[in-house]
């Protein structure tokens, strides 16, 4: 009975097995993924506007960094905006007080966010579940009030300050198409980096930590280190998104560190499908479309976010991408069963 089940549900014979494994091999770094993503964003540009799509892409970078933490490592953070804000502020302050070079400013933004991740990670990463979410929230609040009042002298408090990066040859970030191109490039780079990371042993490591951290410790790994690395990585990438948004708006204000904006990124990950980079991209775009256009037609548009979240949690647990992927896999499995059944008949 058991054997029969095996042969119908799984790749049938032992000799075929290595080839079934290598069949998946080509799935990994398809160039077409990058083309599709770029084409997708380019296609929606004429419908919306260049500035808006740039904003969407920045949010997608942020959503992917959040997905690394939440979707892959299973640590829900309610304070991820802290790193976005840190990136935005350090980039803005660097341009304002030190030098107008935008590339160095971006690097500074990433570095400061990463450094903050290193320091806070030492404390935050030790916790899990609700505790993790709330400690992040607490630090986010601290950051928010820090830029709002004690550091008012340099951050200009609620008013924020303008950021005008100087030109670097053709790299003029105040030109919309150049900004669009650079952000798209950053998005593709981040996507590539995360794709590589999540399909390496490290990817398996963080997914294992999500499922059962104790077990990973008994495989001989110091899980703290890997959680820390993931946290710092997610923080730095959020910092990158922050620097880009500062350059895109030419403006930094405390909104970039607003605790409430965390809802957006959690929502984006859920709607697209957590634990899936395409999910973060799709979710990011869907969320941005909703939050940009729904308010024009409906006054209390957040209510619809609530409703759709209900639908997602009850009907589409794995989000849009997860659902579509599930359908596709279901179909593939069905075909496999049919094929092996045919073969079985032929053999008999």
């Amino acid at each position: 009975m058991n054997e029969k089940k095996t042969s119908s549900l799984n790749p049938p014979s032992k000799e075929e097995l290595p080839s079934t494994l290598t069949n998946f091999q080509r799935k990994e770094y398809r160039k077409i993924d990058f083309l599709l993503i770029a084409a997708g964003f380019l296609l929606i540009t004429p419908i919306l506007s260049v500035h808006r799509v740039t904003d969407f892409m920045i949010f997608c970078i942020f959503a992917m960094s959040f997905d690394l933490l939440y979707g892959y490592m299973g640590r829900l953070s309610f304070g991820h905006m802290l790193f976005l804000g840190t990136g935005a502020y350090s980039c803005g302050l660097f341009i304002k007080y030190v030098s107008g070079n935008p590339l160095i400013a971006i690097l500074v933004g990433i570095a400061v966010a990463g450094l903050l991740g290193i320091l806070l990670g030492l404390i935050i990463v030790r916790t899990t579940g609700a505790c993790f979410a709330l400690i992040n929230l607490a630090f986010n609040h601290i950051g928010f009030f820090l830029v709002l009042s004690p550091l008012r002298e340099i951050t200009r408090g609620e008013d924020g300050f303008g950021v005008s990066a100087s030109k670097l040859g053709f790299l003029n970030f105040s030109s919309r198409p150049i900004m669009f191109g650079s952000v798209l490039l950053c998005l593709l780079l981040v996507f590539y980096l995360l794709k590589r990371l999540t399909s390496s042993p490290f990817g398996i490591m963080i997914r294992s930590i999500k499922e059962d951290e104790t077990r990973v410790r008994f495989l001989g790994y110091n899980t703290f280190l890997y959680k820390w690395i993931t946290f710092v990585l997610a923080g730095s990438l959020a910092g990158l998104a922050g620097t880009l948004s500062a350059l895109n708006y030419n403006y930094v204000n405390p909104n970039s560190m607003d605790v409430h904006s965390n809802v957006g990124v959690v929502f984006a990950c859920l709607i697209g499908g957590a634990g899936n980079l395409y999910g973060a991209l799709v979710g990011g775009v869907v969320y941005m479309v909703i939050s940009n256009f729904l308010p024009i037609y409906i006054h209390r548009w957040e209510m619809f976010l609530g409703f759709s979240l209900l639908i997602i949690t009850f009907r589409f647990r794995k989000g849009i991408c997860g659902y579509l992927l599930g359908l596709w896999e279901h179909g593939a499995k069905k075909r496999l069963i049919e094929r092996s059944a045919e073969q079985g008949v032929a053999k008999i």
Binding site: N2, T6, L9, N10, P11, S13, K14, L17, P18, T20, L21, T22, F24, Q25, E28, Y29, R196, L197, S199, S200, P201, F202, G203, I204, M205, R207, S208, K210, E211, D212, T214, R215, V216, R217, F218, L219, G220, Y221, N222, T223
Partner: protein, 263 residues
Amino acid sequence: MPEILAAEGLSKHFGGLIAVNKVNLSIKKGEVAGIIGPNGSGKTTFFNLLSGFFPPTEGRMFLFGEEITHMPPYQRVMKGMVRTFQLVSVFNSMSVWENLVLSGIRFKERYTSARKFFFLSTKDDEIQENCLKALRLVGLESHASTLTSELSYGSKRLLEIGIALSLNPKLLLLDEPLSGLSDVEISEVLNLLHRIKSDLTLVIIEHKLSKIVNLVDRLCVMNEGHIICEGNPNHVLCDPSVRECYWGKEEIDQGLLQEKASA
């Protein structure tokens, strides 16, 4: 024979409850030791102490002559002590071969370098070959790309042992490897254990006494946190105090008869 693992006066208190009470135990290289005892006698707690799941209240532990009392679990694994869990713990959301990636590369330095660990695809031929080799050992190679949650409980148990074995342990602690399995699955696991026992040192916790009597060289009986008897299996089974705590006074003779018959 050299001593691999030694526990000296190991105790664990949970509030007022003394789960493990001043246990002394030494495991010699190459032997198969069984730890038996009724429910709640502290067997699993003792294992948790040995593997570093939590620290002991008092006492010390030595692995290969080196003190490991306060060593975190992952370092103990690096020293060659690997354990399995009473409730099967495998990663259900991944496919079977992915379960073996982390353990398979743990002791391969060329893979634990940062560049490889973070950026090498797990579809790499050598990693895959590693996983398949480990799966072949436990007879699960035909399930390599199945989702782990679709495996039967027995197969998951085999997979868990496979994961432990792919860490190249010198000392393997098995926590009730036969619990919850059907007879066929039990014989599969026992076959596997018989095959591997010549290469490493095994410590097995088990309820199903009759099944492991032929496997173990030495039997320790725990009751209420103490080791009440240890030695040759046949000798231990005839010990009156063991029979009393295990079967109760009334059923002594019947129990022994059944035991002999099934052995």
